[in-house]
Amino acid sequence: MEFSLAPLRVSVETSIVATGITFFLGLAAANWRTRTSGRCGPVMDTLFIVPLALPPTVVGYLLLLLLGRSSPLGKALESLGLQVLFSWPATLIAATVVAFPLMYLSARGALEQVNPSFLHAARTLGASEWTAFWKVALPLAWPGVLAGTILAFARALGEFGATLMIAGNIPGKTQTLPIAIFFAAEAGNMRQALAWVLITLGIASAALVAFNTWGRRRRGTLSGTRG
Protein backbone atom coordinates (compact mmCIF):
# COMPACT_ATOMS: atom_id res chain seq x y z
CA MET A 1 0.00 0.00 0.00
CA GLU A 2 1.35 3.30 -1.10
CA PHE A 3 1.78 6.12 1.43
CA SER A 4 -0.62 8.98 0.94
CA LEU A 5 -1.11 12.29 2.71
CA ALA A 6 -4.85 12.20 2.10
CA PRO A 7 -5.72 11.24 5.73
CA LEU A 8 -3.77 14.29 6.90
CA ARG A 9 -5.78 16.55 4.63
CA VAL A 10 -9.11 14.99 5.64
CA SER A 11 -8.24 15.22 9.33
CA VAL A 12 -7.04 18.81 9.20
CA GLU A 13 -10.03 19.97 7.16
CA THR A 14 -12.45 18.11 9.38
CA SER A 15 -10.96 19.32 12.66
CA ILE A 16 -10.70 22.94 11.57
CA VAL A 17 -14.19 23.15 10.14
CA ALA A 18 -15.68 21.21 13.07
CA THR A 19 -13.90 23.46 15.56
CA GLY A 20 -15.17 26.53 13.72
CA ILE A 21 -18.73 25.24 13.78
CA THR A 22 -18.62 24.19 17.43
CA PHE A 23 -17.04 27.53 18.35
CA PHE A 24 -20.05 29.48 17.12
CA LEU A 25 -22.72 26.91 17.98
CA GLY A 26 -21.21 26.34 21.43
CA LEU A 27 -20.98 30.07 22.13
CA ALA A 28 -24.53 30.63 20.94
CA ALA A 29 -25.85 27.79 23.07
CA ALA A 30 -23.82 28.85 26.11
CA ASN A 31 -24.91 32.46 25.74
CA TRP A 32 -28.52 31.40 25.41
CA ARG A 33 -28.17 29.18 28.45
CA THR A 34 -26.71 31.88 30.70
CA ARG A 35 -29.78 33.99 30.03
CA THR A 36 -32.37 31.29 30.50
CA SER A 37 -33.66 30.45 33.91
CA GLY A 38 -36.69 28.54 32.67
CA ARG A 39 -37.42 24.87 33.00
CA CYS A 40 -36.17 23.97 29.55
CA GLY A 41 -32.64 24.95 30.55
CA PRO A 42 -31.64 21.73 32.31
CA VAL A 43 -33.30 19.64 29.57
CA MET A 44 -31.29 21.38 26.88
CA ASP A 45 -28.18 21.04 29.05
CA THR A 46 -28.56 17.29 29.02
CA LEU A 47 -29.11 17.25 25.28
CA PHE A 48 -26.03 19.44 24.67
CA ILE A 49 -23.73 17.45 26.91
CA VAL A 50 -24.90 13.88 26.41
CA PRO A 51 -22.57 13.11 23.45
CA LEU A 52 -19.71 13.53 25.90
CA ALA A 53 -21.06 10.90 28.25
CA LEU A 54 -21.94 8.32 25.59
CA PRO A 55 -19.54 5.84 24.00
CA PRO A 56 -18.69 7.05 20.45
CA THR A 57 -20.35 3.97 18.97
CA VAL A 58 -23.62 4.94 20.61
CA VAL A 59 -23.32 8.44 19.16
CA GLY A 60 -22.55 6.85 15.79
CA TYR A 61 -25.53 4.56 16.04
CA LEU A 62 -27.87 7.43 16.94
CA LEU A 63 -26.53 9.50 14.06
CA LEU A 64 -27.09 6.57 11.71
CA LEU A 65 -30.69 6.44 12.87
CA LEU A 66 -31.08 10.20 12.53
CA LEU A 67 -29.51 10.54 9.10
CA GLY A 68 -30.45 7.15 7.67
CA ARG A 69 -32.96 6.60 4.91
CA SER A 70 -35.73 5.58 7.25
CA SER A 71 -35.72 8.83 9.23
CA PRO A 72 -37.60 11.98 8.18
CA LEU A 73 -34.36 13.95 8.13
CA GLY A 74 -32.65 11.31 6.02
CA LYS A 75 -35.56 11.27 3.60
CA ALA A 76 -35.54 15.06 3.33
CA LEU A 77 -31.82 15.05 2.61
CA GLU A 78 -32.22 12.33 0.03
CA SER A 79 -34.99 14.15 -1.79
CA LEU A 80 -32.64 17.14 -2.02
CA GLY A 81 -30.12 14.85 -3.61
CA LEU A 82 -27.74 15.08 -0.65
CA GLN A 83 -25.81 11.97 0.24
CA VAL A 84 -24.62 12.56 3.79
CA LEU A 85 -23.81 9.14 5.23
CA PHE A 86 -20.43 7.72 4.18
CA SER A 87 -19.28 11.02 2.73
CA TRP A 88 -17.12 13.85 4.06
CA PRO A 89 -20.10 15.73 5.60
CA ALA A 90 -20.68 12.66 7.80
CA THR A 91 -17.09 12.88 9.03
CA LEU A 92 -17.67 16.52 9.79
CA ILE A 93 -20.97 15.84 11.56
CA ALA A 94 -19.44 13.14 13.75
CA ALA A 95 -16.51 15.37 14.74
CA THR A 96 -18.80 18.35 15.42
CA VAL A 97 -21.24 16.38 17.55
CA VAL A 98 -18.56 14.92 19.81
CA ALA A 99 -16.62 18.19 20.07
CA PHE A 100 -19.63 20.37 20.81
CA PRO A 101 -20.16 19.45 24.50
CA LEU A 102 -16.59 20.44 25.39
CA MET A 103 -16.96 23.85 23.80
CA TYR A 104 -20.41 24.33 25.28
CA LEU A 105 -19.37 23.41 28.83
CA SER A 106 -16.26 25.58 28.82
CA ALA A 107 -17.97 28.56 27.24
CA ARG A 108 -20.94 28.32 29.56
CA GLY A 109 -18.72 28.19 32.62
CA ALA A 110 -16.68 31.14 31.40
CA LEU A 111 -19.69 33.27 30.49
CA GLU A 112 -21.37 32.55 33.81
CA GLN A 113 -18.29 33.89 35.56
CA VAL A 114 -18.55 37.29 33.87
CA ASN A 115 -19.71 39.81 36.45
CA PRO A 116 -23.20 40.95 35.39
CA SER A 117 -22.23 44.52 36.33
CA PHE A 118 -20.17 44.73 33.15
CA LEU A 119 -23.15 43.76 31.03
CA HIS A 120 -25.39 46.15 32.93
CA ALA A 121 -22.93 48.95 32.31
CA ALA A 122 -22.69 48.06 28.61
CA ARG A 123 -26.47 48.07 28.19
CA THR A 124 -26.97 51.41 29.90
CA LEU A 125 -24.24 52.79 27.63
CA GLY A 126 -26.35 52.00 24.61
CA ALA A 127 -24.97 48.60 23.66
CA SER A 128 -27.30 46.10 22.01
CA GLU A 129 -27.25 42.54 23.31
CA TRP A 130 -25.10 41.64 20.31
CA THR A 131 -22.53 44.34 21.08
CA ALA A 132 -22.59 43.57 24.80
CA PHE A 133 -21.78 39.95 23.98
CA TRP A 134 -18.99 40.47 21.44
CA LYS A 135 -17.38 43.53 22.99
CA VAL A 136 -17.77 42.78 26.68
CA ALA A 137 -18.87 39.28 27.65
CA LEU A 138 -16.72 37.36 25.17
CA PRO A 139 -13.44 39.22 25.81
CA LEU A 140 -13.95 38.78 29.55
CA ALA A 141 -14.76 35.09 29.17
CA TRP A 142 -11.93 34.61 26.69
CA PRO A 143 -9.60 32.30 28.67
CA GLY A 144 -12.41 29.79 29.26
CA VAL A 145 -13.70 30.08 25.72
CA LEU A 146 -10.21 29.47 24.39
CA ALA A 147 -9.81 26.40 26.59
CA GLY A 148 -13.09 25.09 25.21
CA THR A 149 -11.90 25.70 21.67
CA ILE A 150 -8.68 23.78 22.29
CA LEU A 151 -10.57 20.89 23.83
CA ALA A 152 -13.04 20.86 20.96
CA PHE A 153 -10.24 20.85 18.40
CA ALA A 154 -8.43 18.02 20.18
CA ARG A 155 -11.61 15.98 20.42
CA ALA A 156 -12.48 16.57 16.76
CA LEU A 157 -8.98 15.55 15.69
CA GLY A 158 -9.13 12.37 17.71
CA GLU A 159 -12.65 11.34 16.73
CA PHE A 160 -12.77 7.71 15.67
CA GLY A 161 -15.76 5.59 16.70
CA ALA A 162 -18.71 7.64 15.51
CA THR A 163 -16.86 8.62 12.34
CA LEU A 164 -16.18 5.02 11.46
CA MET A 165 -19.83 4.13 11.96
CA ILE A 166 -21.39 6.89 9.90
CA ALA A 167 -18.62 7.86 7.48
CA GLY A 168 -16.69 4.66 7.07
CA ASN A 169 -13.15 4.33 5.79
CA ILE A 170 -13.06 5.84 2.32
CA PRO A 171 -9.51 6.94 1.47
CA GLY A 172 -9.33 10.55 0.39
CA LYS A 173 -12.87 11.25 1.55
CA THR A 174 -13.65 10.01 5.02
CA GLN A 175 -10.45 8.35 6.07
CA THR A 176 -9.10 10.53 8.86
CA LEU A 177 -5.74 9.99 10.57
CA PRO A 178 -7.11 7.95 13.51
CA ILE A 179 -9.01 5.70 11.11
CA ALA A 180 -6.04 5.34 8.78
CA ILE A 181 -3.83 4.42 11.74
CA PHE A 182 -6.32 1.82 12.92
CA PHE A 183 -6.62 0.11 9.54
CA ALA A 184 -2.90 0.30 8.82
CA ALA A 185 -2.11 -1.32 12.15
CA GLU A 186 -4.83 -3.90 11.63
CA ALA A 187 -3.26 -4.82 8.30
CA GLY A 188 0.12 -5.14 9.99
CA ASN A 189 1.46 -2.11 8.16
CA MET A 190 3.22 -0.75 11.23
CA ARG A 191 5.63 1.62 9.45
CA GLN A 192 2.77 3.41 7.73
CA ALA A 193 0.81 3.57 10.98
CA LEU A 194 3.85 5.05 12.70
CA ALA A 195 4.19 7.72 10.03
CA TRP A 196 0.61 8.80 10.60
CA VAL A 197 1.03 8.64 14.35
CA LEU A 198 3.98 11.04 14.08
CA ILE A 199 2.02 13.34 11.79
CA THR A 200 -0.88 13.36 14.25
CA LEU A 201 1.47 14.18 17.11
CA GLY A 202 2.87 17.01 15.03
CA ILE A 203 -0.51 18.61 14.23
CA ALA A 204 -1.78 18.23 17.77
CA SER A 205 1.30 19.94 19.23
CA ALA A 206 1.36 22.64 16.57
CA ALA A 207 -2.32 23.37 17.12
CA LEU A 208 -1.90 23.65 20.88
CA VAL A 209 1.05 26.01 20.52
CA ALA A 210 -0.86 28.12 18.00
CA PHE A 211 -3.95 28.34 20.20
CA ASN A 212 -1.92 29.25 23.24
CA THR A 213 0.01 32.00 21.49
CA TRP A 214 -3.13 33.43 19.99
CA GLY A 215 -4.92 33.23 23.31
CA ARG A 216 -2.13 34.89 25.22
CA ARG A 217 -2.05 37.79 22.80
CA ARG A 218 -5.80 38.34 23.07
CA ARG A 219 -5.74 37.89 26.81
CA GLY A 220 -2.76 40.17 27.33
CA THR A 221 -4.84 43.12 28.39
CA LEU A 222 -7.00 41.01 30.65
CA SER A 223 -4.50 39.51 33.04
CA GLY A 224 -5.09 40.85 36.50
CA THR A 225 -8.26 42.55 37.57
CA ARG A 226 -9.12 45.81 39.21
CA GLY A 227 -6.60 46.96 41.79
Partner: protein
Amino acid sequence: MIVELLVEIQREFKDFKLEVAFCAGDKTLGILGPSGSGKSMTLRAIAGLETPTRGQIVLNGRTLFDSKRGINLPSRRRRMGFLLQDYALFPHMTVAENIGFGLRHLSRHEAGKKVAEQMARVQLQGLEDRYPRQLSGGQQQRAALARALAIDPEALLLDEPLSALDIHLRSQMEALLIETLSAFRGVSLYVTHNLEEAYRISEEIVVISKGKEIALGPKEEIFRDPRTFTVAQVTGCKNFSRARLKSADEVEALDWGCQLRVCLPIPEGMDFLGIRAHHLSLSDAGGGVNTFPCGLIRMIEGPFRMTLYLKLLMPEAPFVHHHLQAEITREKWMSLKERPFPWYVRLDPERIMLLRKDSANG
Protein backbone atom coordinates in the same frame (compact mmCIF):
# COMPACT_ATOMS: atom_id res chain seq x y z
CA MET B 1 -37.82 71.29 29.25
CA ILE B 2 -39.47 69.77 32.26
CA VAL B 3 -37.18 67.50 34.17
CA GLU B 4 -39.22 64.81 35.75
CA LEU B 5 -39.06 61.12 36.45
CA LEU B 6 -42.20 59.32 37.52
CA VAL B 7 -41.76 55.90 39.01
CA GLU B 8 -44.53 53.69 40.16
CA ILE B 9 -43.52 50.07 40.10
CA GLN B 10 -44.09 46.73 41.73
CA ARG B 11 -41.91 43.70 41.47
CA GLU B 12 -43.04 40.45 42.98
CA PHE B 13 -40.97 37.49 44.03
CA LYS B 14 -41.89 34.44 46.05
CA ASP B 15 -40.68 35.92 49.31
CA PHE B 16 -40.16 39.57 48.54
CA LYS B 17 -42.30 42.32 47.14
CA LEU B 18 -40.99 45.65 45.98
CA GLU B 19 -43.48 48.46 45.81
CA VAL B 20 -42.36 52.03 45.27
CA ALA B 21 -43.87 55.18 43.85
CA PHE B 22 -42.11 58.50 43.68
CA CYS B 23 -41.39 61.42 41.48
CA ALA B 24 -38.03 63.08 41.02
CA GLY B 25 -37.39 66.52 39.57
CA ASP B 26 -34.12 68.33 39.04
CA LYS B 27 -33.23 68.04 42.72
CA THR B 28 -31.15 65.01 43.63
CA LEU B 29 -33.33 62.34 45.14
CA GLY B 30 -31.70 60.08 47.66
CA ILE B 31 -32.97 56.52 48.01
CA LEU B 32 -32.11 55.47 51.53
CA GLY B 33 -32.59 52.01 52.96
CA PRO B 34 -30.81 49.17 54.70
CA SER B 35 -29.15 46.52 52.54
CA GLY B 36 -31.65 44.13 51.04
CA SER B 37 -34.43 46.71 51.17
CA GLY B 38 -34.86 46.80 47.39
CA LYS B 39 -33.27 50.18 46.72
CA SER B 40 -30.73 48.90 44.19
CA MET B 41 -33.41 46.82 42.53
CA THR B 42 -35.48 49.98 42.15
CA LEU B 43 -32.57 51.67 40.41
CA ARG B 44 -31.98 48.69 38.13
CA ALA B 45 -35.67 48.65 37.20
CA ILE B 46 -35.49 52.34 36.28
CA ALA B 47 -32.40 51.68 34.16
CA GLY B 48 -34.19 48.83 32.40
CA LEU B 49 -31.92 46.12 33.75
CA GLU B 50 -34.75 44.49 35.61
CA THR B 51 -38.37 44.25 34.56
CA PRO B 52 -41.03 45.21 37.11
CA THR B 53 -44.11 43.06 37.43
CA ARG B 54 -46.43 46.04 37.18
CA GLY B 55 -46.37 49.79 36.98
CA GLN B 56 -44.90 52.56 34.90
CA ILE B 57 -41.78 54.64 34.51
CA VAL B 58 -41.92 57.95 32.69
CA LEU B 59 -38.88 60.15 32.08
CA ASN B 60 -39.37 63.71 30.83
CA GLY B 61 -42.68 62.75 29.25
CA ARG B 62 -41.24 59.67 27.56
CA THR B 63 -42.73 56.38 28.71
CA LEU B 64 -39.93 53.92 29.41
CA PHE B 65 -42.06 51.24 30.94
CA ASP B 66 -45.77 50.68 31.17
CA SER B 67 -47.06 47.24 32.00
CA LYS B 68 -50.61 48.08 30.93
CA ARG B 69 -49.59 49.35 27.51
CA GLY B 70 -46.92 46.70 27.10
CA ILE B 71 -44.11 49.23 26.81
CA ASN B 72 -40.66 48.20 27.99
CA LEU B 73 -37.86 50.19 26.42
CA PRO B 74 -34.54 48.33 26.50
CA SER B 75 -31.78 49.80 28.64
CA ARG B 76 -29.83 51.03 25.65
CA ARG B 77 -32.64 53.35 24.62
CA ARG B 78 -33.40 54.79 28.04
CA ARG B 79 -30.51 57.24 28.06
CA MET B 80 -29.63 56.82 31.68
CA GLY B 81 -26.16 57.21 33.06
CA PHE B 82 -25.62 54.44 35.57
CA LEU B 83 -22.79 54.56 38.07
CA LEU B 84 -22.37 51.18 39.71
CA GLN B 85 -21.03 50.38 43.12
CA ASP B 86 -18.11 48.38 41.73
CA TYR B 87 -17.54 50.91 38.89
CA ALA B 88 -17.75 48.10 36.29
CA LEU B 89 -15.05 49.64 34.13
CA PHE B 90 -14.34 47.15 31.36
CA PRO B 91 -10.98 45.65 32.32
CA HIS B 92 -10.02 44.82 28.74
CA MET B 93 -10.38 48.39 27.52
CA THR B 94 -8.32 51.48 28.21
CA VAL B 95 -9.78 54.43 30.08
CA ALA B 96 -10.41 56.25 26.79
CA GLU B 97 -12.07 53.17 25.28
CA ASN B 98 -14.22 52.80 28.36
CA ILE B 99 -15.40 56.40 28.22
CA GLY B 100 -15.91 56.13 24.46
CA PHE B 101 -17.89 52.88 24.74
CA GLY B 102 -21.23 54.68 24.69
CA LEU B 103 -20.16 56.90 21.78
CA ARG B 104 -19.70 54.27 19.11
CA HIS B 105 -22.48 55.81 17.02
CA LEU B 106 -20.48 59.02 16.65
CA SER B 107 -17.70 59.61 14.17
CA ARG B 108 -14.19 58.90 15.34
CA HIS B 109 -13.36 62.57 15.51
CA GLU B 110 -16.47 63.55 17.47
CA ALA B 111 -16.16 60.65 19.87
CA GLY B 112 -12.52 61.51 20.46
CA LYS B 113 -13.42 65.11 21.23
CA LYS B 114 -16.11 64.02 23.67
CA VAL B 115 -13.85 61.57 25.42
CA ALA B 116 -11.21 64.29 25.86
CA GLU B 117 -13.87 66.64 27.23
CA GLN B 118 -15.03 64.08 29.78
CA MET B 119 -11.48 63.15 30.76
CA ALA B 120 -10.80 66.80 31.48
CA ARG B 121 -13.98 67.20 33.45
CA VAL B 122 -12.94 64.50 35.92
CA GLN B 123 -9.25 65.43 35.77
CA LEU B 124 -7.98 62.23 34.24
CA GLN B 125 -5.96 63.82 31.41
CA GLY B 126 -2.91 61.80 30.52
CA LEU B 127 -4.38 58.50 31.66
CA GLU B 128 -6.19 57.76 28.37
CA ASP B 129 -4.17 54.67 27.57
CA ARG B 130 -4.13 53.15 31.02
CA TYR B 131 -6.15 50.09 31.83
CA PRO B 132 -8.57 50.25 34.78
CA ARG B 133 -6.35 48.01 36.90
CA GLN B 134 -3.58 50.60 36.59
CA LEU B 135 -5.76 53.29 38.18
CA SER B 136 -6.33 54.07 41.84
CA GLY B 137 -9.77 53.57 43.34
CA GLY B 138 -10.59 57.25 43.07
CA GLN B 139 -9.43 57.42 39.46
CA GLN B 140 -11.52 54.38 38.57
CA GLN B 141 -14.51 56.03 40.15
CA ARG B 142 -13.94 59.22 38.17
CA ALA B 143 -13.48 57.27 34.95
CA ALA B 144 -16.77 55.49 35.60
CA LEU B 145 -18.48 58.82 36.23
CA ALA B 146 -17.03 60.25 33.01
CA ARG B 147 -18.23 57.20 31.11
CA ALA B 148 -21.76 57.55 32.47
CA LEU B 149 -21.86 61.27 31.64
CA ALA B 150 -20.36 60.89 28.16
CA ILE B 151 -23.62 59.64 26.69
CA ASP B 152 -25.41 62.89 27.71
CA PRO B 153 -27.92 61.02 29.82
CA GLU B 154 -31.32 62.40 30.70
CA ALA B 155 -31.01 60.89 34.15
CA LEU B 156 -28.12 59.92 36.33
CA LEU B 157 -28.47 56.86 38.54
CA LEU B 158 -25.87 56.32 41.24
CA ASP B 159 -25.82 53.02 43.09
CA GLU B 160 -23.79 53.36 46.31
CA PRO B 161 -20.94 54.95 44.37
CA LEU B 162 -18.84 55.74 47.44
CA SER B 163 -19.10 52.54 49.40
CA ALA B 164 -16.05 50.89 47.86
CA LEU B 165 -13.72 53.81 48.58
CA ASP B 166 -11.32 54.48 51.44
CA ILE B 167 -12.48 57.09 53.86
CA HIS B 168 -10.13 59.85 52.71
CA LEU B 169 -11.02 59.28 49.07
CA ARG B 170 -14.64 59.19 49.94
CA SER B 171 -14.89 62.83 50.96
CA GLN B 172 -13.02 63.90 47.82
CA MET B 173 -15.32 61.84 45.61
CA GLU B 174 -18.31 63.08 47.51
CA ALA B 175 -17.31 66.67 46.77
CA LEU B 176 -16.88 65.79 43.08
CA LEU B 177 -20.27 64.08 43.02
CA ILE B 178 -22.01 67.02 44.67
CA GLU B 179 -20.43 69.36 42.16
CA THR B 180 -21.31 67.09 39.24
CA LEU B 181 -24.86 66.62 40.40
CA SER B 182 -25.47 70.31 40.90
CA ALA B 183 -24.20 71.01 37.38
CA PHE B 184 -26.19 68.14 35.90
CA ARG B 185 -29.37 69.20 34.13
CA GLY B 186 -31.54 66.21 34.61
CA VAL B 187 -32.95 63.78 37.10
CA SER B 188 -30.47 62.28 39.51
CA LEU B 189 -31.09 59.43 41.89
CA TYR B 190 -28.64 58.48 44.58
CA VAL B 191 -28.95 55.10 46.28
CA THR B 192 -27.21 54.57 49.59
CA HIS B 193 -27.54 52.89 52.96
CA ASN B 194 -25.42 55.60 54.54
CA LEU B 195 -27.71 58.19 56.07
CA GLU B 196 -25.09 60.90 56.31
CA GLU B 197 -24.21 60.47 52.65
CA ALA B 198 -27.87 60.59 51.72
CA TYR B 199 -28.29 63.79 53.69
CA ARG B 200 -25.22 65.50 52.31
CA ILE B 201 -25.73 64.58 48.66
CA SER B 202 -29.45 64.66 48.09
CA GLU B 203 -32.14 67.23 48.64
CA GLU B 204 -35.13 64.95 48.78
CA ILE B 205 -35.17 61.49 50.26
CA VAL B 206 -37.16 58.32 49.76
CA VAL B 207 -36.81 55.76 52.53
CA ILE B 208 -37.27 52.12 51.53
CA SER B 209 -37.48 49.23 53.94
CA LYS B 210 -38.27 45.60 53.08
CA GLY B 211 -39.41 46.60 49.62
CA LYS B 212 -41.84 49.21 50.86
CA GLU B 213 -41.53 52.92 50.49
CA ILE B 214 -41.99 54.28 54.01
CA ALA B 215 -41.18 57.96 53.70
CA LEU B 216 -40.75 60.55 50.98
CA GLY B 217 -39.99 64.23 51.32
CA PRO B 218 -37.40 66.95 51.82
CA LYS B 219 -34.44 65.57 53.74
CA GLU B 220 -34.69 68.08 56.61
CA GLU B 221 -38.25 67.07 57.27
CA ILE B 222 -37.53 63.35 57.20
CA PHE B 223 -34.65 63.61 59.62
CA ARG B 224 -36.47 66.04 61.94
CA ASP B 225 -39.78 64.27 62.03
CA PRO B 226 -39.49 60.68 60.82
CA ARG B 227 -43.07 59.90 61.92
CA THR B 228 -42.65 56.14 61.99
CA PHE B 229 -40.43 53.79 63.91
CA THR B 230 -38.66 52.34 60.88
CA VAL B 231 -37.96 55.69 59.27
CA ALA B 232 -36.45 56.88 62.57
CA GLN B 233 -34.34 53.73 62.69
CA VAL B 234 -33.17 54.00 59.08
CA THR B 235 -32.28 57.66 59.60
CA GLY B 236 -30.03 56.64 62.48
CA CYS B 237 -32.08 57.02 65.66
CA LYS B 238 -30.67 54.76 68.39
CA ASN B 239 -33.03 55.25 71.35
CA PHE B 240 -36.58 53.97 71.28
CA SER B 241 -39.21 53.26 73.89
CA ARG B 242 -42.78 52.14 73.73
CA ALA B 243 -44.94 55.11 74.65
CA ARG B 244 -48.34 55.74 76.18
CA LEU B 245 -50.23 58.97 76.35
CA LYS B 246 -50.40 60.21 79.96
CA SER B 247 -51.87 63.69 79.79
CA ALA B 248 -52.26 66.46 77.21
CA ASP B 249 -48.53 67.08 76.90
CA GLU B 250 -47.01 64.13 78.71
CA VAL B 251 -46.26 60.61 77.61
CA GLU B 252 -45.05 57.63 79.55
CA ALA B 253 -41.93 55.94 78.19
CA LEU B 254 -42.63 52.32 79.13
CA ASP B 255 -39.17 51.01 78.36
CA TRP B 256 -37.44 53.75 80.31
CA GLY B 257 -39.77 53.92 83.32
CA CYS B 258 -40.29 57.66 83.15
CA GLN B 259 -42.74 60.30 82.10
CA LEU B 260 -41.71 62.79 79.51
CA ARG B 261 -42.91 66.23 78.61
CA VAL B 262 -43.26 66.41 74.83
CA CYS B 263 -44.02 69.04 72.24
CA LEU B 264 -47.46 69.25 70.80
CA PRO B 265 -49.26 68.05 68.86
CA ILE B 266 -49.12 64.41 69.78
CA PRO B 267 -49.89 62.43 66.62
CA GLU B 268 -52.77 60.03 66.47
CA GLY B 269 -51.84 56.43 67.12
CA MET B 270 -48.43 57.14 68.63
CA ASP B 271 -46.83 53.90 69.82
CA PHE B 272 -43.19 54.81 70.22
CA LEU B 273 -40.96 57.68 71.03
CA GLY B 274 -37.37 58.09 70.08
CA ILE B 275 -34.48 60.44 70.59
CA ARG B 276 -31.23 60.59 68.67
CA ALA B 277 -28.04 59.75 70.55
CA HIS B 278 -26.44 63.14 69.95
CA HIS B 279 -29.52 64.97 71.18
CA LEU B 280 -29.16 63.69 74.73
CA SER B 281 -27.40 66.08 77.07
CA LEU B 282 -25.55 65.07 80.21
CA SER B 283 -24.68 66.99 83.35
CA ASP B 284 -24.05 66.32 87.04
CA ALA B 285 -26.93 68.51 88.24
CA GLY B 286 -30.52 67.36 88.49
CA GLY B 287 -33.67 69.41 88.08
CA GLY B 288 -35.32 70.70 84.96
CA VAL B 289 -37.70 69.23 82.44
CA ASN B 290 -37.21 65.58 81.41
CA THR B 291 -34.02 65.27 83.43
CA PHE B 292 -33.32 61.94 85.08
CA PRO B 293 -30.54 60.41 87.14
CA CYS B 294 -28.50 57.80 85.32
CA GLY B 295 -25.46 55.59 85.61
CA LEU B 296 -22.80 54.78 83.05
CA ILE B 297 -22.76 51.15 81.97
CA ARG B 298 -20.21 51.26 79.24
CA MET B 299 -18.30 53.74 77.16
CA ILE B 300 -16.96 53.32 73.65
CA GLU B 301 -14.31 55.73 72.62
CA GLY B 302 -14.26 57.09 69.09
CA PRO B 303 -11.64 59.43 67.69
CA PHE B 304 -13.83 62.50 68.10
CA ARG B 305 -16.97 61.35 69.80
CA MET B 306 -17.79 59.07 72.69
CA THR B 307 -20.70 56.70 72.84
CA LEU B 308 -22.08 56.25 76.34
CA TYR B 309 -24.47 53.50 77.34
CA LEU B 310 -26.66 54.78 80.15
CA LYS B 311 -28.95 53.17 82.63
CA LEU B 312 -31.74 55.28 84.05
CA LEU B 313 -31.89 55.16 87.84
CA MET B 314 -35.67 55.13 88.02
CA PRO B 315 -37.61 52.68 90.16
CA GLU B 316 -39.94 51.71 87.31
CA ALA B 317 -37.25 51.42 84.68
CA PRO B 318 -37.22 47.83 83.35
CA PHE B 319 -34.14 45.79 84.07
CA VAL B 320 -32.11 45.77 80.88
CA HIS B 321 -28.47 46.22 79.94
CA HIS B 322 -28.89 49.89 79.17
CA HIS B 323 -31.71 52.28 78.41
CA LEU B 324 -30.12 55.04 76.43
CA GLN B 325 -27.23 55.52 74.11
CA ALA B 326 -25.74 59.00 74.11
CA GLU B 327 -23.13 60.51 71.88
CA ILE B 328 -21.02 63.37 73.17
CA THR B 329 -17.89 65.14 72.04
CA ARG B 330 -14.51 64.29 73.50
CA GLU B 331 -14.32 67.72 75.15
CA LYS B 332 -17.64 67.19 76.84
CA TRP B 333 -16.44 63.79 78.01
CA MET B 334 -13.28 65.30 79.50
CA SER B 335 -15.28 67.77 81.54
CA LEU B 336 -17.75 65.10 82.61
CA LYS B 337 -15.68 62.09 83.46
CA GLU B 338 -14.37 63.24 86.85
CA ARG B 339 -17.82 64.19 88.13
CA PRO B 340 -19.41 61.98 90.79
CA PHE B 341 -22.43 59.80 90.01
CA PRO B 342 -25.31 59.97 89.55
CA TRP B 343 -25.16 61.95 86.38
CA TYR B 344 -28.28 63.43 84.89
CA VAL B 345 -29.51 62.95 81.36
CA ARG B 346 -31.87 65.41 79.75
CA LEU B 347 -34.29 64.47 76.97
CA ASP B 348 -35.11 67.79 75.36
CA PRO B 349 -38.87 67.88 74.60
CA GLU B 350 -38.07 69.59 71.28
CA ARG B 351 -35.93 66.65 70.27
CA ILE B 352 -38.26 63.84 71.23
CA MET B 353 -39.77 62.20 68.17
CA LEU B 354 -43.22 60.75 68.51
CA LEU B 355 -43.57 57.77 66.27
CA ARG B 356 -46.22 55.53 64.91
CA LYS B 357 -45.68 51.90 64.29
CA ASP B 358 -45.01 51.22 60.64
CA SER B 359 -47.69 51.63 58.13
CA ALA B 360 -47.45 50.83 54.48
CA ASN B 361 -47.98 54.40 53.32
CA GLY B 362 -45.52 55.95 55.77
